[in-house]
């Protein structure tokens, strides 16, 4: 049982670090998308100029990016704390559940987008794979956290 506890603790520390790194990379990536590729996402909307569209695009994307980053940061730091044997609340598990739900919705919408548009299949597929990896990381954090807490209680 000690080995199992150590394995769960070690995995949580690794997953937590991975979660923080992943969140940071997402933030950087979305920032670069806003800087370099925002014109690619332009769609003409009546009553809005291109500049207005791009400003709205940047605000929306960066808001999501910062929110996701904060989610990953909370989850990652809490998972690491649990892995190091410090007590913490279950708030981060709730955040993890919410983030997993977001990601599942994003994955489903990306799949529909590929089926409907048929553009950029390769890069969209890779994006789906990356998103699935994020879901797996978060799912593992949830499962390991619950298992570890129950083992430590016993």
């Amino acid at each position: 049982m000690d080995a199992t506890i150590r394995r769960l603790q070690n995995n949580l520390i690794t997953l937590g670090t991975g979660s923080v790194a992943f969140g940071l990379w997402m933030l950087i990536k979305f920032s670069l998308i806003c800087m370099l590729q925002r014109s690619d996402y332009y769609q003409a909307i009546e009553g809005f100029s291109k500049e207005q569209y791009e400003i709205a695009f940047v605000i929306t994307v960066m808001t999501f990016a910062v929110v996701f980053f904060i989610h990953f940061l909370i989850i990652g730091i809490s998972a690491r704390a649990l892995g190091r044997g410090r007590k913490n609340s279950v708030f981060y598990l709730i955040v993890a559940f919410i983030t997993v739900s977001y990601y599942l919705a994003i994955i489903i919408s990306e799949i529909f987008l590929i089926i409907s548009s048929g553009h950029n299949i390769l890069s969209q597929s890779v994006n789906i794979v990356i998103d699935i990896s994020a879901v797996i990381i978060l799912f593992e954090i949830i499962v390991y956290s619950i298992r570890l807490k129950s083992l430590l209680k016993n």
Binding site: A3, T4, R6, N10
Partner: protein, 389 residues
């Protein structure tokens, strides 16, 4: 293990096994020589470079880590410092062949290879006995590490604790590893130097016990950690106890080599012979000091009545250089070189026979004739001269 055990403790073991002072000195010096005989030294003396029994840090930094380079490194370290415990071991979990090959090089004491190492030295020179004792001693100190660069076998992590006997019983103190070779280790603070973590399977930083620093080589340390291959099972290393086992096993092995006892088998220890000096040995092994040379030397003097001088490497080199070509093999270093070649050849062959190519290829002389590295022709000449069994 360090010079204090390899040279001076081996000397004491040889005296207890019944060897004279001069014979014990040769055995002790030969054991120490395994940590000194590098390619740099051999090339300087125009001696066979394949007889190298260790590598300098600079040599390692420049070493190739392609398949040829890795085989060269493994041949040296697995043959002399990390003798594999079980060449046919199977881990609990299913794994790839590549992982299995590295797993099988993990060093453990009381292996079949150890029996072969000691038996190989029977009837040979004292230098062969010294080499065998070095290998035997290192199987205890370097247990659970492999003599090949491997992150997945030799890595350690933050879960590393020194076990210290405090006022309230045994305490755990987290080991603070740092990467500063020039700073001395501080046992009172549990601050030790280890190698840097490199995210590369074949990095030199993951060779042997580099990731655990010098802890395996300090006789007083007791510690626990998670070996990378161990599936999160904790290993507790009790160096004082292990070193005592190494010492008593050396006495037993040396008695066999001297002919006092007929057979050498793994798992046997001569605890009777050390009884008169057991307390003294325990005191040395439990004293917190990075170098126990002075204590072992004093014990040696007490046992033999003679003081064992520091090994004079320059004199040994000079003897070899000054000897004629046909007399070099009869010098101290010449005999050591032949012993080293034989040990390396035996271990490489055994690893190869187990289906593992990590130490390179080995050819049976009887069936295929001589092929391969020219340096090993000395062994062939020795066999033809009737020295080999």
């Amino acid at each position: 293990m360090n010079k204090d055990f390899h040279c001076y403790a081996t000397y004491c073991a040889a005296i207890l096994a019944g060897y004279s002072h001069e014979e014990s000195a040769v055995i002790g010096y030969s054991s120490q020589m395994v940590d000194l005989c590098t390619r740099t030294m051999l090339s300087k003396l125009h001696a066979p470079q394949s007889a190298a029994t260790t590598q300098l840090q600079l040599e390692l930094m420049d070493a190739r880590t392609d398949i040829i380079g890795l085989q060269d490194i493994t041949r040296i370290w697995a043959s002399f410092h990390f003798l594999p415990g079980d060449l046919y071991a199977v881990p609990e979990q299913k794994c790839s062949k590549k992982y299995l090959k590295k797993y099988r090089l993990i060093c453990k004491p009381n292996s079949e290879l150890l029996e072969k190492t000691v038996r190989r030295a029977k009837g040979k020179n004292l230098q062969d006995a010294g080499i065998a004792m070095h290998v035997l001693a290192d199987t205890w100190a370097h247990s659970y590490f492999a003599g090949t660069p491997s992150l997945v076998i030799n890595n350690t992590n933050y879960h590393f604790f020194e076990l210290i006997q405090g006022e309230n019983g045994e305490e755990e103190r987290k080991v603070n590893f740092r990467h500063s070779p020039s700073s001395p280790d501080e046992p009172e603070k549990s601050a030790y130097t280890n190698t840097v973590y490199y995210n590369n399977e074949n990095s030199i930083m993951s060779l042997g016990h580099g990731r655990a620093g010098h802890l395996p080589d300090y006789c007083f340390v007791r510690y626990k950690y998670l070996p990378a291959w161990g599936n999160y099972e904790e290993i507790i290393k009790d160096n004082p106890s292990d070193y005592l086992c190494a010492f008593t096993q050396m006495v037993y092995a040396l008695k066999y080599l001297r002919g006092t006892i007929p057979e050498f088998e793994k798992g046997h220890y001569d605890t009777e012979s050390i009884e008169p000096v057991k307390d003294e040995i325990q005191r040395i092994l439990h004293t917190v000091q990075l170098d126990s040379t002075k204590d072992w030397r004093e014990l040696g003097k007490k046992l033999s009545g003679h003081e064992l001088e520091e090994i004079d490497v320059e004199a040994i080199e000079k003897e070899y250089l000054d000897a004629d070509a046909d007399e070099k093999d009869d010098t101290f270093l010449g005999r050591f070189i032949i012993g080293a070649l034989a040990q390396k050849s035996m271990v490489t062959n055994q690893i190869f026979q187990s289906g593992n190519r990590l130490a390179g290829y080995s050819i049976e002389l009887g069936s295929k004739g001589f092929k391969g590295i020219r340096d090993f022709k000395k062994l062939l000449k020795r066999r033809e001269a009737g020295s080999d069994e």
